[in-house]
C-alpha cells in the first residue's frame, strides 16, 4: 500500500494551484495591514514587505504540498491522527540515564555561581524562576488538565506579598517565603472552590478574569500598592546578615562577618542558591506526588472526568489540591522574583506572562518534568541571548504554541512511566 503511494508521480500541478491559492489569500490577509501603515490620518505604502510575505507563503505552501505527497509526508499526516495516545510505559527493569545526569547537574549547579559573572547569574536566576512557575502550572494544566490563564495572579500575590509585608508589617524574605506560598494557596482555594465544579473551558475564562482583576487592583489602588509606580522590595538577608556593602542600623554585613571582601553579586549568589534548593525541593515533591494516589487521580481526571466521578472520585477536592499546589509554587516564585528585582510593579504581571508560562508547559510537554525545566530555560534564556529578535519574541511564542498543538499536543518530551512486573503467583 505504502509503496504504491510512493511510486505515484508527484502532482506538481496540484501543488502549484495550492501555492497560488495560498498566495492570493495571504495577499488579501496581509496586504492591508502590512502594506498600508497608518501615519496619523494618512498612510504610507510598504509594498515590498507584502511581496516578501506573499512570496514566503507561496514557497512554503508549495514545499509543504510537495512534501505531503511523499511517503514520508503521508506517514506524518497519518501520525497526527493518533497524536493524542496516552503515556509511554517503560520496561520494568529500565534504568534511565538521568540517574547519572541529575547528580552531575546538581554538582555543576552548586559550583556554577563561583565562576559566573553577575549578568549570567541574573539570567540563570530568571530561568530558574520560570522553571518554578512552569512546574507549578504543569501540575495544574499538565497533570490535572485545568487550563489556568490567570496563573500570574498567584505569582503577583507572592511578589507583592514580600513588598507589602515589608512596607506595612516589616516582614523579611524568610518570613514571607512560606507565608506567600500559603497566601497564594489560599487565594487559589478561594477562587477554585466555586469555579472548579463547572465546565472546563469556563475555568480558563474565570482565571483569566481573576488575573486581570488582581493586576487592575494593584494598578489602581495607589495609596496601598503604589499603583503603576510599584514598590521597592528589601534585599534578602541570611541569619540577619545583610548582603550590602554597609549594613543598616549599625549591623554587620555578611562579608565582614565572614571576613572576605565585598562582592556586589553576593545578593544574587544567595538568591540563586536558595532558589536552586527550592526548585530541587519542588521537583522532588512533584516527582513523589505523581506516584501518589492524588497524582494518579489528577491524571485520571484529566483524561476522563465523567468516568472518574462515576468511580467515586471527589472531583472538586482533587482539582482543588492541584490548583492550590500550583498556586503556592507560583507564590514562592513571586517572592524570589521580587527580591531578585528589588522592586515590583503591576507591569510584570500581565496576561502575556501567563501565556509565556503556558508556552513553557506546552513546549515542555504536559506533565513532563524534564521537559518543563528545559523549556523554561529555552524560552527565558534564549530571548536574553537573542536581543535582536526581541521584537519578534511574542510572535514566535504564538506560532510555537499553535504549531506544538498541531504537531505534538503532548509536548516535545513524552511522559514516560516505569512499568510494573506482577509478583510471582499472581495472575496477570
Amino acid at each position: 500500500m505504502s509503496s504504491a503511494i510512493a511510486n505515484n508521480p508527484m502532482d506538481i500541478k496540484k501543488s502549484l494551484v495550492d501555492a497560488v491559492l495560498a498566495g492570493l489569500i495571504s495577499l488579501i490577509v496581509f496586504g492591508p495591514i502590512v502594506g498600508v501603515v497608518l501615519d496619523g490620518y494618512q498612510y504610507n505604502l510598504e509594498i515590498d514587505r507584502v511581496a516578501m510575505i506573499v512570496g514566503v507563503v507561496m514557497l512554503g505552501r508549495f514545499a509543504l504540498s510537495l512534501f505531503l505527497q511523499t511517503a514520508k509526508g503521508m506517514a506524518m499526516l497519518a501520525s497526527f491522527e493518533s497524536s493524542d495516545s496516552g503515556v509511554h510505559v517503560l520496561a520494568p527493569d529500565y534504568k534511565s540515564r538521568l540517574r547519572w545526569i541529575i547528580p552531575m547537574l546538581i554538582v555543576i549547579a552548586m559550583i556554577f555561581p563561583i565562576f559566573a559573572s553577575k549578568y549570567l547569574l541574573t539570567v540563570v536566576i530568571l530561568g530558574l524562576i520560570y522553571v518554578l512557575l512552569g512546574l507549578g502550572l504543569n501540575i495544574v494544566v499538565g497533570l490535572a488538565g485545568l487550563l489556568d490563564l490567570g496563573y500570574v495572579a498567584f505569582y503577583a500575590i507572592g511578589a507583592y506579598g514580600l513588598a507589602l509585608g515589608y512596607e506595612y508589617l516589616g516582614l523579611g524574605f524568610w518570613t514571607v517565603l512560606p507565608l506567600a506560598a500559603l497566601a497564594a494557596a489560599m487565594a487559589g482555594a478561594l477562587l477554585g472552590f466555586p469555579v472548579l465544579r463547572m465546565h472546563g473551558d469556563y475555568l480558563a475564562i474565570v482565571t483569566l478574569g481573576f488575573g486581570e482583576i488582581i493586576r487592575l487592583v494593584l494598578n489602581n489602588w495607589l495609596e496601598f500598592t503604589g499603583g503603576p509606580n510599584g514598590m521597592s522590595v528589601p534585599s534578602p538577608s541570611f541569619m540577619g546578615l545583610e548582603f550590602t556593602r554597609r549594613a543598616k542600623d549599625g549591623g554587620v554585613p555578611f562579608h565582614e562577618f565572614f571576613g572576605f571582601s565585598y562582592n556586589p553579586s553576593m545578593k544574587f549568589i544567595f538568591i540563586y542558591l536558595v532558589l536552586f534548593l527550592v526548585v530541587m525541593l519542588v521537583l522532588y515533591i512533584k516527582h513523589r506526588l505523581t506516584r501518589m494516589p492524588v497524582g494518579r487521580a489528577w491524571e485520571a481526571l484529566r483524561e476522563d472526568e465523567i468516568a472518574c466521578r462515576a468511580m467515586g472520585l471527589n472531583h472538586v477536592l482533587v482539582k482543588l489540591s492541584a490548583f492550590m499546589i500550583g498556586a503556592s509554587t507560583a507564590g514562592l516564585a513571586g517572592v524570589f522574583f521580587a527580591s531578585y528585582q528589588g522592586f515590583v510593579n503591576p507591569a510584570s504581571f500581565t496576561f502575556f506572562e501567563s501565556a509565556l508560562i503556558l508556552a513553557i508547559v506546552v513546549l515542555g510537554g504536559m506533565g513532563s518534568t524534564v521537559g518543563v525545566v528545559l523549556a523554561a530555560f529555552m524560552l527565558t534564556v534564549a530571548p536574553e541571548l537573542l536581543r535582536t529578535f526581541a521584537e519578534y519574541r511574542v510572535l514566535l511564542f504564538g506560532i510555537l504554541m499553535v504549531l506544538m498543538m498541531i504537531w505534538r499536543p503532548r509536548g516535545l518530551i513524552r511522559v514516560s512511566r516505569s512499568g510494573v512486573v506482577p509478583r510471582k503467583g499472581v495472575a496477570p
Binding site: I33, V36, S83, M198, Y392, G398
Partner: protein, 304 residues
C-alpha cells in the same frame, strides 16, 4: 441626576450594542464546536485597523461624503475580516478537530498572541485614530441638565440593530442558517444527513468575524482611537456578554451585550471609572459561578 442617568444609559446602550456584535462570534463558535475562540478579540482589533486604513485610503482619493465613506469602509472591512476569520479557523483550529480538549484552547491563545504581535510589528505600537466622521448631536433638556445624543451614537445603534436583524434573518430563514443550526444541535447527525459540517464551521467563523468587523468599524467611529492591545479587554467583555446572555444563544448574546454595556456605564458614572474593568470581570466571575447557563441559555449537560 436624571440627566446623567439617561446619558449614561444611552452611552451604555451604544457600547452594549457593540459588545453584543462581538459576543455573537463567541457564542456561535462555542455553540457549534464547544470551544472558546480566544482570538476573537484580536479579530475585532484587526478590523479596527482595517477600518482606519480604508478611511485613510478613501480620504486620500478625496472622498468626503459620509454615506460613501462609511459604506466603503464597512464593505471592505467586513470582507477582509471575514477572510481573517476563515484563515484563523483553517490554520489554528481545523487541524485540531479530533485532538485533546485543551489543544484548541491553547492554539487559540497562541493565535491571539500572533495576531497582536503581528499588528504591533507591522503598524507600530503607537495609538492610531480616525477623524470624526459625523458631527453634531441631538440635545434634549431634562430638568436641570441635558442629554446629548450624538449622530455617531444614533448611527451605531441603527447599524448594530440592522446587523443583528440581518444575522437573525440568515440564521432563522435561509438554508445556510438551517445548516448552522443543524450542525450546532448534532454535528455527527448533520454530517450523516449530507451537510458538509467542516464548511459550516468555516462559515460560522466568517460570520462571527464579519460581526466583529461591524463592531470594529462602529467602535472606531465612536472612540476615534485604538491600539494593537485593544482586542484583549473588549474580547473578555464581549465574552462576558455572551456568558451573561447564555452561551450558544444568539438573542442572549445581544441581550447580554446591552445589559453589560449599561451596567458598566452606570458603574463608571456612579462608583468609579478606574475600576470599571474590574467590575466587568467580577461580573463575569460571579455569573459563571452562580448562573453558568446565563439568562437565555440551557444548562450544560455532559453526555457520555
Amino acid at each position: 441626576m436624571d440627566g446623567i442617568f439617561l446619558q449614561q444609559t444611552i452611552n451604555g446602550l451604544t457600547l452594549g450594542a457593540v459588545y453584543g456584535l462581538i459576543a455573537i462570534g463567541y457564542t456561535m463558535v462555542y455553540g457549534i464546536i464547544g470551544m472558546i475562540n480566544f482570538a476573537h478579540g484580536e479579530v475585532y482589533m484587526i478590523s479596527a485597523y482595517l477600518s482606519a486604513i480604508t478611511l485613510a485610503i478613501l480620504a486620500s482619493f478625496g472622498l468626503e461624503s459620509f454615506p460613501l465613506l462609511i459604506l466603503g469602509t464597512l464593505l471592505f472591512t467586513i470582507a477582509i475580516t471575514g477572510v481573517y476569520g476563515w484563515v484563523i479557523e483553517r490554520v489554528a483550529y481545523k487541524p485540531l478537530r479530533n485532538s485533546t480538549r485543551l489543544a484548541p484552547l491553547i492554539s487559540a491563545i497562541g493565535m491571539s498572541l500572533v495576531l497582536q504581535n503581528y499588528v504591533q510589528i507591522s503598524q507600530g505600537a503607537r495609538q492610531q485614530g480616525v477623524p470624526t466622521l459625523l458631527e453634531g448631536a441631538f440635545k434634549l433638556h431634562i430638568g436641570e441638565g441635558f442629554v446629548q445624543l450624538t449622530y455617531t451614537k444614533v448611527f451605531i445603534l441603527i447599524a448594530a440593530f440592522v446587523g443583528m436583524a440581518l444575522l437573525t434573518y440568515v440564521i432563522q430563514y435561509t438554508k445556510l442558517g438551517r445548516m448552522c443550526r443543524a450542525t450546532q444541535q448534532d454535528r455527527k447527525m448533520a454530517s450523516i444527513l449530507g451537510i458538509n459540517t467542516d464548511r459550516v464551521i468555516s462559515y460560522v467563523f466568517v460570520i462571527g468575524a464579519a460581526m466583529a468587523a461591524l463592531a470594529g468599524v462602529l467602535i472606531t467611529m465612536n472612540y476615534g482611537t485604538f491600539d494593537f492591545y485593544a482586542g484583549f479587554i473588549i474580547g473578555i467583555k464581549a465574552f462576558t456578554a455572551a456568558v451573561l446572555g447564555g452561551i450558544g444563544s444568539l438573542p442572549g448574546a445581544m441581550l447580554g451585550g446591552l445589559i453589560l454595556g449599561v451596567a458598566e456605564s452606570q458603574f463608571s458614572s456612579m462608583v468609579n471609572t478606574d475600576y470599571k474593568d474590574v467590575f466587568s470581570f467580577s461580573l463575569l466571575v460571579l455569573i459563571l459561578i452562580f448562573r453558568p447557563q446565563g439568562l437565555l441559555g440551557r444548562p450544560h449537560v455532559a453526555k457520555v
